[in-house]
Amino acid sequence: MPQNIRFVEIAVAGGGPAGLCAALEAAAAGARVVLIDRNEKPGGQLVKQTHRFFGSRAHHASERGVNIAREIAGAAAAHPNIEVMSAATVFGFYEDGVLGVEQAGRIFYLKPSRVIVATGAAEKSLAFPNNDLPGIYGAGAVQTMVNVYGVLPCRRVLMVGAGNIGVIVSYQLLQAGVAVAAIVEAAPRIGAYWVHAAKVRRAGVPIYTGHTVKRAYGERELAGAIIWQLDENGQPVPGTEKDFAVDTICLSVGLSPLVELLAQAGCRLVYAPQLGGHVPVRNAELETSMPGVYVAGDAAGVEEASAAMVEGALAGLHAARGLGYVQPDFESRRAALQQQLHSLRSGPAGEKIRAGLAQVLAG
């Protein structure tokens, strides 16, 4: 069968923050990289983040996600060692290390020496009666509509989940002129950074911790939802119901790592609920149980975009080293990146991540 397989040095599947930083780091070391991204413009979910990032990489602190995306996607497009395949989907990772790629209805096969999988994560749903009514979205979906397309799918929203995404999206909805009726959080505490939570509180949005959705209602579209309180055992308390007339529920109840390619490649996966679900076992260099196959970003375990960028860089650095591309500052660069990851995961906010990582770090 005549089949052209293209040999490449490093292939990166996914052009979000992790994949872009992986490609940039590997390319900076001298490796030639093909970055495959399913969207027309790389940037992943950073393209809809209008809030400012803080903490992480010195040069991205206090930048808005959308600008970081523009910056690193632009750098990747301009880099002579990086070829960006946009609107292209990696559909298979085969037993002989070949990647199948579909672009505009055509099929390509790549045989990379190293593969970095940075496929991200998908939004989870939540089980309650009528949770499939039109008007019930992933919070990220509403964020995409509002911030990427400038389209408002909603007038009055009930946000479920008071983690960073839930609270940040609530604030962005307020900015876009949408009413946020309340934020509901099953846990007894708000999970988001206080800076973000304080903003929505100041705007007068009530946050109901220890509550969950009892049911949604509506004929063909969402008309409202009833929430109720949870006791200390997580059981609902009858009599505590509150009714909200809303046209939209945003579910911000976590993400599942997209590990299909890694699973097909034969990488060992472990269920680590703190990281969002099944994630690959890997070493400190982000190499999975399959030699030459690396993982970075949410596909490795759901964290913040800042951590994804640093992980991507680490994976890129080591994948390049494996091919003999080692810059003189390799050791100091690696130490700096590891230090950044360490500080991102320190303190009480990183507790869950650290517990998850303890289950998947090997070697």
Partner: protein
Amino acid sequence: MLNFDVLIIGGGVTGCSIAYHLAKSGCTRVALLEKGYLTSGATGRCGAGFRQQWGTRTNCLLAKHAVAKLEQLAEELDYPGGVEIKQEGYLILAYTPKMEAQFKKNLALQKSLGIGARWVTPREAREIVPFLNTGGLLGATFYEKDGHANPFKVTDAYARAARRLGVEIHTYTPVQDIRLDGGIKTVVTPAGDFRAPVLVDAAGGHAAGIGRLVGLDLPVQAERHQILVTEPVEPALGPMVMCFYHNIYCQQSPHGSFIMGLGDPNEPRGYNTGSSWQFLMQMAEKAVRLLPVLKNARVVRQWAGVYDMSPDRQPVLGEVPELPGFYVAAGFSGHGFMIAPMTGQLMAECILGKPTSLPIDMFSLSRFSTGELFIEPSVV
């Protein structure tokens, strides 16, 4: 130390059917040991078709009785919602005069056994499958009582019914060793030792490995077979289209997706469930040539499973003469799912010392040493 009357190794459709049929006959001190989850081996990866169009009396009868049992399965096993049976036939294509002659011989045999398959011309074949490419086609055989069932549900139905009758099913319980102490077989697992006078090897592609634990050389080898499946669409293809010439099969499942596979003569033996892009390309090319409309269907998944191949591509059923109490139900070579309802019944009868409802002597392991192979002309 757990004591039973019968231990079954393998939680595929065959093992679960045997367990159910034993329990139904009153033999309820049965434990089934499965190293993964039920259907995690070949059952859950199979093409899910069943047919009665065979070329030997034995296989025709086996299939006919198995299909009759499948048709009644949901009722017999009290399985609400059913096992997704679709009976819109198998269309088996003939491209050479030799094939045509063999198929017509098969039809005569099938007719004598009450299997109403018939010869159809290329034009009639196109009436049955409107978008069939009939180029080079001499004709086909068709039987509308052949079809499709959901292997997960069939297995689950047997497993649930068996459990209700008292069978213990232990998943994620791999067999580490087997000890023979007189007539008693002790199966060593991480969950402890299981003991019984009767042991059934229904381990599919792992059957020979189980045999080796008791010093038995079973001529059953794993061979990878790959499948791909498209997006679901509204019903468009009634029958399973099967072609020995191109070595492929394709059927639309009740869910709406097209399931297809092919036989690769170059596939090495061995337990490999990896996917290949070569298969994807070959399969897509062959399927589109035969059913051109499929070129507009998106492939959503591909996967691989193993056939448990025997030298004559027919199962090994029954007790091993030199190892009393050690039974084999393996070597199904790609058609284990479709006959599993009968395999369970026949094995249970055999284990309980009853006369079997159909003869199974021809499936005895000893045929490989005496050279009396069972030749079935009608296989992919």
